[in-house]
Amino acid sequence: MEFTIFAIMAAASLLCAVMVLAGQGTLESAAWFTGCLVAVAGIFALQAAPFLAVAELLLAAVAMMALVLSAIVFIRKGGERHRRRVLDFGRVLGGMAAAYLAIVLVVAIWRPPFLEAPGSGQAYEAPSSLAMVLFGRYAAAFELAGVLLVVTTVAAIALVKREEARGGDAGEGQEVELEPPLPSANRELRAADDGVEGEKG
């Protein structure tokens, strides 16, 4: 029973992964990748990691949100023109190399008799075991992961922020101004300072 569910989930996930390769454009590939994430969440649950399965589903939801945003950014500006497929030597060779990697890995892994799972894994499957690891032994690493996420968020926003000097598209919306444009600000500040100095003496 467990093996049947695993086989279905694995087949669905691999099918979605192949469709990511075969999909045209950003939107279709990202949609198939979201499906792959959901199927892999099922695999995670089968591997006795329910917390990770739920975290994976959350990631899939975020991936769908990123998909919608990417559709807004790329396709709205008309940049997603579908080019014709180019089949050059480098890509064929790369595909063959990836197939060779798959063959090598399968041959290395597939050696019967297969091991059976030791124990029922009930104590392992409970989230408390992961919690003891996360917040007990590796609490510092957990906090560092949080710092990593904060830094990444700031970096992503800084990368997407438009420079005011570029001009860009007028109707794109408000850009975040982190620093005022220098000459006019200095002029205003200088005028204010002169006013104050004039009043004083």
Partner: protein
């Protein structure tokens, strides 16, 4: 048939190979990014398979960290893709050739 370690590892290996093929074959940089995410996912699945069979929860922690890195890298990668698209007007890797010759 009983679910065993090799089945989980086999799935992980195939997913990793498909991700590697995606990185090499596709020209669209967003799809290349998604293929890298797929490779990270496969690594997490392999970690979970091993953790299940040795009953060590540290494997789950490493897989969670791999998910965190996956999300962080996706954020920065997408931001870079948006910036590249604004500058170059295209998303295809073989059309961003300003560094050539």
């Amino acid at each position: 048939m009983v679910l065993s370690l090799q089945h989980g590892l086999l799935f992980s290996a195939l997913l990793f190979a498909i991700g590697a093929a995606g990185v090499v074959v596709r020209r669209n940089i967003v799809v290349v990014l998604l293929s890298v995410e797929m490779m990270l996912l496969a690594a997490g699945a392999a970690l979970l398979a091993f953790a299940r069979w040795t009953l060590l929860p540290e494997g789950q922690w490493i897989a969670l960290f791999a998910l965190v890195v996956m999300g962080a890298e996706a954020a920065v990668g997408l931001a870079l893709a948006v910036a590249c698209f604004r500058l170059r007007g295209t998303l295809l890797a073989n059309e961003m050739r300003q560094l050539r010759e």
